[in-house]
Symmetry: C2
Subunit: 931 residues, 2 copies
Amino acid sequence: MAQASELSLEDAVAQSPRKWVYLFSEGNAGMKDLLGGKGAGVAEMTNAGMPVPPGFTITTEACNEYYTAGKRFPDGMWQQALAALRQVEAQTGKTFGDAKNPLLVSVRSGAKFSMPGMMDTVLNLGLNDETVKGIIALSGDERFAYDAYRRFVQMFSKIVLDTKADEFEKIIERYKEETHAQTDADIPSDALKHMVEDFKQTARDASGRDFPEDPVEQLRLAIEAVFASWNNKRAIDYRNINKIPHDLGTAVNVQTMVFGNMGNDSATGVAFTRNPSTGERKLYGDYLVNAQGEDVVAGIRNTSPIDHMQEEAPAVYQQFHEIANRLEEHYRDVQDMEFTIEKGRLYMLQTRTAKRTAAAAVKIAVDMANEGVISRDEAVQRVEPQQVVQRLLPRFDEQDVQAARAANRLLARGVNASPGAAVGKAIFDADRAEAAGKAGERVILTRVETSPDDVHGMYASQGILTSRGGTGSHAAVVARGAGLPAVVGCEAIRVDYEQRQFRVSGTDTVVREGDELSIDGATGEVFQGALKTVEADFEHDTDLQTLLAWADERRDLGVWANADYPRDADRSVAFGAEGIGLCRTEHMFMEQERLPVVQEMILAETPEKRQAALDQLLPFQRSDFEGIFRAMRDPKTGAGYPVVIRLIDPPLHEFLPSYEELLVEVTRLEDKGDNPDELAKKRELLGRVAQMREANPMLGLRGCRLGLLFPEINVMQTRAILEAAVNVAKEGMRPQPKIMIPLVGHVNELREVRRQLEAVAEEIASEAGGQVEYKFGTMIELPRAALTAGQIAEVADFFSFGTNDLTQTTFGMSRDDAEGKFLLQYVEGLPEPGLKEPVKILKVNPFQTLDRDGVGRLVRIAVEEGKRTKPNLEVGICGEHGGDPDSIAFCDEVGLNYVSCSPFRVPVARLAAAQAALARKASQKQAERDK
Amino acid sequence: MAQASELSLEDAVAQSPRKWVYLFSEGNAGMKDLLGGKGAGVAEMTNAGMPVPPGFTITTEACNEYYTAGKRFPDGMWQQALAALRQVEAQTGKTFGDAKNPLLVSVRSGAKFSMPGMMDTVLNLGLNDETVKGIIALSGDERFAYDAYRRFVQMFSKIVLDTKADEFEKIIERYKEETHAQTDADIPSDALKHMVEDFKQTARDASGRDFPEDPVEQLRLAIEAVFASWNNKRAIDYRNINKIPHDLGTAVNVQTMVFGNMGNDSATGVAFTRNPSTGERKLYGDYLVNAQGEDVVAGIRNTSPIDHMQEEAPAVYQQFHEIANRLEEHYRDVQDMEFTIEKGRLYMLQTRTAKRTAAAAVKIAVDMANEGVISRDEAVQRVEPQQVVQRLLPRFDEQDVQAARAANRLLARGVNASPGAAVGKAIFDADRAEAAGKAGERVILTRVETSPDDVHGMYASQGILTSRGGTGSHAAVVARGAGLPAVVGCEAIRVDYEQRQFRVSGTDTVVREGDELSIDGATGEVFQGALKTVEADFEHDTDLQTLLAWADERRDLGVWANADYPRDADRSVAFGAEGIGLCRTEHMFMEQERLPVVQEMILAETPEKRQAALDQLLPFQRSDFEGIFRAMRDPKTGAGYPVVIRLIDPPLHEFLPSYEELLVEVTRLEDKGDNPDELAKKRELLGRVAQMREANPMLGLRGCRLGLLFPEINVMQTRAILEAAVNVAKEGMRPQPKIMIPLVGHVNELREVRRQLEAVAEEIASEAGGQVEYKFGTMIELPRAALTAGQIAEVADFFSFGTNDLTQTTFGMSRDDAEGKFLLQYVEGLPEPGLKEPVKILKVNPFQTLDRDGVGRLVRIAVEEGKRTKPNLEVGICGEHGGDPDSIAFCDEVGLNYVSCSPFRVPVARLAAAQAALARKASQKQAERDK
């Protein structure tokens, strides 16, 4: 038995600075912070009288203290662990290290948030050449005992002694050959016994030390290895992806081993109280007779669906079913349970809230609310907004996915960087991808990683696959921006550009350029061949519609959309938008037939010529606006929705030919010298374009500055908007145009533009013989606008926060330059020679999630001071942050009237807005109670 | 007599909404706001019992009300004026319009601030064919009477009836020819009588109406013309230049005429209580016997110095001298007095605080303080900081200027846009100016106006002269930025690019390209030929040194300098800087021998190669820093002054060859196809440069971002700084290096850089065998840095506000782009077809004077919250605003520790800082009293 302390756990705690160790019976589900999810879960089950193998949990605080103290166990922790071990010995009647009736334990990590597969586990700990004899005697199965022993040595060596997994695989293969075994299970007991020795030798060679025979030493090393695994690369990446803080630490669970591989009356399995893929209310899962948990995970033998157990072991099934129901009721959510049957006796090893697909999440939430298990408030809070995105994306047909998995076509799993399902030919080069894309082929651009040089190829592809990089990598950022599915950091694929192929590591599978791949950006899975995809059908998605209707009842924020064309407006309304928060008029300028006229307007040498070009543009813009106004009506009442139209914003040179291309053309013409007319023409154009170039176009002649210098542009646009409104009004609906001025920095700019506009409105009113209704407002997208919002509100009816530009100016970062050049490293970490960990400057990309301290503070100032001047000032947001749940929560908190986002994100925003409102009200109530 | 109201002034006021008219005896010197400077002055003199011709003042409120009411006299104003006129009639015993004893009056403008020559004046008003007879009878001098009459008609026609001055000049010339008169004074009485008729005819032809014979009508029109002249172009420009608000309005002074041209016992003159050019304490001025004021101004006849009067009219001189002394004592400042002697009797027409040259201002302030007339506090407040700039600039030799004026070489006077004296050849084109400049010639670039295309020529010139534009024009802005003297908006010169010459309007003078010019940017004067210039000698300028010593005793702000080289550091100390607030290390990279190494460093493909290049740069930087540290010591104590060194800031591509030039080179090489090696090399370089290009370099990879991505640059620079400090310390002085990190937006950036630096400092400390003293701080030049200053102060020992960049990001304006493209128009006014007046968006250029509402608010936040975190945080400013008096006042107000500006502006800043402190303390005292 444990040679150490004879202290009781109580005494050991009393002698320590803190209680580091909890028996399962001492914890409960509320102690996740301290005991981790798994520890809190088994404690709760233990106390609920469920059959849980006894054990104890070392706290997350101990893990953090371990790091703080320079990787040393905190004072008293080890004594407490040994004391707890004695209690477990007492509960089980077994003794750790005893040759006759040995206690074997598992040592598992367990953080507050589940990080499946990311950290380390050691099973069967306590085995050595002595105790294995006791297991043989007790189980009466020598093969079982040595199999358990070799598994332990293998796992321990890999995790604790850093031995490479391959080495053990090679040994196993050798023994299989020698013993003519078809599978691992066919290797005879004797061979396994020798294998244990070979394994130990391998571990010794790799680590330079003997394999520890002392179970207490084994335990100490295993606990330390679990602590260490909190900061392995996989775990850090996972936390980054899932926005889990790095300072939570992991707990360590030490639990009595039970064996699902003690014969055919033993089994092990994983089950869910409902189907986590579809949400169907039915026990769902798999089990494997005469097997240990890792066999289920490894997928070496085929598992049986859980309902087979109903026939094969009806009593145990019955017991399990009851426990499953009790657990779902207890936790009021779908449970993901691990269980083992040892010689006919059921043990519950773990329960936790089940991860689920987007489809399942929505259905489960709606079902459970309808069943009365949870409230509608809770249902709304149960679905992550990101899951709504997934549900709206095309996805793979579930049956096809199952079939592909069964056929071993699941090649690898990478980081799920940008959701959506994509099918296409693997192409390993951006230029070829672009060529194939243009030729109408579906392409999965497959690279080690991508760089700005690859962007043209990315845009021509259906999806992106990389073997390196995380969720903040270039590939991930660009893919999300472009709405392309992406799996990144898929380390199992070994890309070889020269051979134009990749190999799947640890297998013989090779995928050559042109072979078809299917990638699921939501799960990170990569399949060989083409999977069937299913388009989302929002309109008929009753569960989602129900959930969003509940969300609508609960949110305070309006949800509007950014839409530039009538077709986008239609889609926005279909997705539930209640207005357009940003209609960018310059997009209308970019269309092919219009661009030459726009260029004429810009290059006009006289006001008359400029006016002539503008006169040509007017009818185009007017008809676009008419289309948008018609689309923007409440589908129930037919009333017009508000439409915020932003006057021209980008610098005019964006509409002109590229300076660099012209420069080359002119140089070429000069060199040839055979076409003086053309040369003169191009030189003239080059000169004009040169004149308009800017050192920093972002900060140059754009936004309202354009309309102040060229009032005739504003006049044309205003006329187009108001005439369209008048025309549509004649058709019987009342459109709600709101004219918005971009890039205002000083109230006088807005004052002058307002004067221009009012003159036009008066003209149109008198032409139309009545009043023209419109609102006049401004973007708040420069720090100065926010800082002087109290003045600006005197002239504006509404504010809309342009948080893209506001983030750029507040941080002094051009998004174009920053994301490619340094922002990625700011978020992912700067490589720092002297330090082990990369140094992270920013937690998140501020262009994705609104920066509360800087940009957010400006927003608060502007809202507060704007409303102080004009209490009924309408305030919204139309930057990309308007579709980001974290940022939406901020918008709710500061009391904006609405968020506006891309049409596709409207449902996400509806849900996120409801969740924000619920969370805010809950915390207000809490604050009142606390008073 | 006045046919109108018989009301008394009291009654007229009682019937009006407000008192619009004050008799001189009703006002005093404290009523400048209401009566204007002139009105308040004559009122004060009247009440002090001085001989002032009786009259009355129509208030500035009346002028403003006139504009508000759509250019109509406010209710009751006219009645009050007529009533006041009756009082004047009573006082003088004369009657307005009376044929026997007619009252004649002058009608003059008079705003709160003197605007000499900018607005209109009518003399001898009240003359017509009837009243002229009375004047003949009274004066016994027909010629005098008709001369007065023709002057009146001429002046009135020009000002009230908008007749061109040229027309009258032509008539005069004709009469002179016909009568063989040498000068105007030789034209006989009879001819003058006819001339009056011709003048009236001319006015009738020009205005389409008869010349008004009714004196009351004359008065009404003249008053209206004075009101109108408030908003003539000259006046508006003058106010813009002198930062006088446009809404003050002008008062109108109606005063009994006295005549200096009633014979040889009459005279008129202008005198100063001290010499306004030199400051010498001696009555200074000129007078002209038998002349009216305009003769003095026109310079047609030579005036006599005032001291000649001592012999010619000792009694009057004595009286005048006494009055002058009384006035200076009364006003406690140098007075500028207008007087007239009518038939031996002295009349004081006006007194006001004298404008003075920079030289005089300093001497007068110091003298008057030493004389005990004013306190030292007042002396410090008496000199405008801008005058210190002027005093430091080369100026023209005063005698040479007098001689040039006497020789009629003063060609014209324009807007004094950028001070300093410059001599050079007139060149009318920027390219030729550049060529001449490179050839070693001194050039005055002479243009109608300048544009960004002319900048290269401006920089190659000694000074700039334009015929169009105000103090905010491109020419003015660039010239001030470059420290070049400039005279702009000099409308009298008519530039002809084709002929390469200008003609001086109203003269035959033509200046051809290559002719020498002398321009005085402080006075706006343009002289033909080369004037002698005098360099300023700061060291031996005792008066200025005295004044600045007094200022130093009174200021709370430290004054430091921005200096990049040892030579600049020397100059800074000479000008009184107490530290370097900004040493830009990258300037050291730009030097010819170093640039290739810098390029190697940037283009290095491996960290090793980069390190090798950095190793080469280290000794250069170290020796620069050594030189600077040695220079920066207190001349009195020898103690080291603080030196704030900013690590590399600009984007690295600024050090590389131009992308456009490379693109042309590569295209050329491609076209030729004869040098594949060179082509490959250039293509490679083009590729590298292309990779580093940025859409918005201002917001790109620069500032601290560089050192985070390439820590080895920071390491080299830190090493150079600290090794230099160690070396200089060995020489016996203790340098105070302060390392400053640019473009920080997030505290984590600073934290990481601090970690890098501390590692280097430790290394150097252990190499040097002791501690290395330095401070670590950051620029606050991004809005986010200001908004999170509370966090950033945790890591910084000091803040320095980089208000150039902070202004750019707060306004979202790139200075390079904005000043050329729209900022000028924002300040000068946007041409607005529908409106008479251009629309002004900004009062001042925010890159010159700190914007308090936006940028200033950020500065306040950062100071407040930074000091909350770290009470002893040192805060300074190193943007260009550090040398601008208005901005310095703001810095004093928010409690900065120091301002840092270009060495040349250090004396200005010392004075401005003292004035700011005095003003602040005065208003604090006032606030306490008000409590």
